[in-house]
């Protein structure tokens, strides 16, 4: 793909460019949306929703046909995942909630599928898209900071919601203002400390996932520049990346459970 010099840079930049649409000057504009909040990364949304639907369709099919008798192979595989998530939730979260286990399952499988897109050779899908006239295509939704933030913000809203629901507005406020130093003079200090630690949760959650996957994707792109040498290197990095893909999906799920369980229990 790459020729030399600055074309290598443009190759990398091209691969890191989202397909974007935005409303500018009363018109729909493609790919000239820098700095415009009212823009949509079409590729990220497309693959994110597509993979979410893959997850939902697959699991829904199994759920509908689920038998308590001898399960088929697909059902067994799905049950292994569900059982794993269920166990993780039970070990960490001791309250009673209808939401947390399905939330954890959705996040785990969905993030895992989105991360798995990283293992498709970097030129295939953008190359195919180029053939039908789509100039940019970023196929890994979790390398888009919007996507990871979109998920972590939902988690953040749930943290705040459950904190208030379980401890009451007063309890939540007390937790933010009277810890770690229980004195009225320390309230501003406490507020800053607790506020930062509260806000750090969604930020770290999303940036960890984004950073890992973005870096992995970047390395795949750089390997793609190497000509014939990319074949063994791509294989090696893919094997290693398989670990990252699974681990990051697991960490995202696990931290969500931990944060929500903290919101339920308090200090």
């Amino acid at each position: 793909m790459a020729e030399a010099g600055h074309s290598a840079g443009s190759y990398v930049a091209h691969h890191l460019q989202n397909l974007t649409v935005c409303r500018a000057d009363g018109q729909w504009v493609w790919n000239h949306c820098a700095g415009n909040f009212q823009a949509l990364n079409v590729d990220s949304m497309f693959f994110s929703i597509l993979l979410g639907l893959v997850f939902l369709t697959l699991f829904r099919r199994v759920a509908v046909r689920a038998t308590t008798g001898v399960p088929g192979r697909l059902q067994t595989a799905v049950e292994v995942i569900v059982g794993f998530v269920n166990q993780s939730v039970r070990e960490t979260f001791h309250g009673k909630s209808e939401l947390i286990a399905p939330l954890a399952l959705t996040l785990f499988v969905w993030v895992f599928l989105m991360n798995m897109m990283d293992l498709i050779p970097v030129d295939w899908l953008p190359g195919a898209a180029g053939l039908i006239g789509v100039p940019y295509l970023k196929v890994v939704p979790t390398t888009d900071v919007n996507v990871t933030f979109g998920m972590s913000i939902s988690v953040f809203i749930l943290i705040v919601f459950y904190s208030i629901k379980v401890k009451g507005l007063g309890g939540f406020t007390r937790e933010l203002t009277l810890q770690p130093f229980n004195h009225w003079l320390a309230i501003p200090f406490n507020l800053i400390l607790e506020g930062v630690s509260l806000l750090a949760k969604p930020v770290s959650l999303s940036l960890r996932l984004f950073g890992n996957l973005y870096a992995g994707e970047l390395i795949f792109i750089l390997i793609g520049l190497l000509g014939l040498w990319q074949l063994p290197l791509h294989f090696l990095w893919a094997v290693f990346h398989l670990l990252i893909v699974t681990l990051q999906a697991f960490i995202f799920m696990m931290l969500t459970i931990v944060y929500l369980s903290l919101a339920h229990e308090g200090h």
Binding site: C33, F37, M45, G52, A63, V82
Partner: protein, 164 residues
């Protein structure tokens, strides 16, 4: 890298997906898993119960067998004893019968001897009387000398006991 509406889009997508999963995916799957776990637990419990019952039945059978064996030994014992008794009785009866027969035979033989001896004695007496008559030249009257003859016969009998 810009923050834009994708953020909102992803949030909405996530809310919808999680809601769908919570309503339509998680409950049936977890119910199937829980039900199967219960079934397996029940099955294992039933299996254990069956095994216990089997062991108990085996014990019972063993006991019955042992009792039967003991009883058989007893029966054989009794039979042995009874047969010994019967054989003993039969032996006694046989011995007694034999003795009786022997005694009877002996008595018969004795009688026969006596009779023979008696006969011989009479014949001898008659011979003696006849011989004496001839010597004296006249007939010895058996009637007048009956006492004498009898005495003689007795004397002969006493002098030769057991000589037939």
């Amino acid at each position: 890298m810009d923050i834009n509406l994708t953020l909102i889009g992803q949030t909405i997508a996530m809310i919808v997906f999680v809601w769908f999963c919570m309503k339509f995916i998680w409950p049936p799957l977890i119910r199937a898993i829980d039900d199967r776990q219960r079934q397996i637990a029940d099955g294992i419990a039933a299996g254990e119960r069956g095994q216990q019952e089997l062991a108990e039945a085996r014990n019972g059978a063993e006991q019955v067998l042992q009792e039967a064996r003991q009883k058989a030994v007893q029966v054989v014992d009794i039979a042995h004893r009874r047969s010994n008794e019967l054989i003993g009785e039969a032996k006694q009866v046989a011995v007694a019968e034999g003795e009786r027969l022997v005694t009877a035979a002996r008595a018969e033989a004795g009688n026969e001897t006596l009779r023979a001896r008696d006969g011989l004695r009479r014949e001898l007496a008659a011979l003696v009387v006849a011989g004496t008559g001839r010597l004296l030249g006249r007939e010895v009257d058996a009637k007048t000398h009956a006492a004498l003859l009898d005495e003689l016969a007795t004397e002969l009998g006493r002098q030769a006991p057991g000589n037939g």
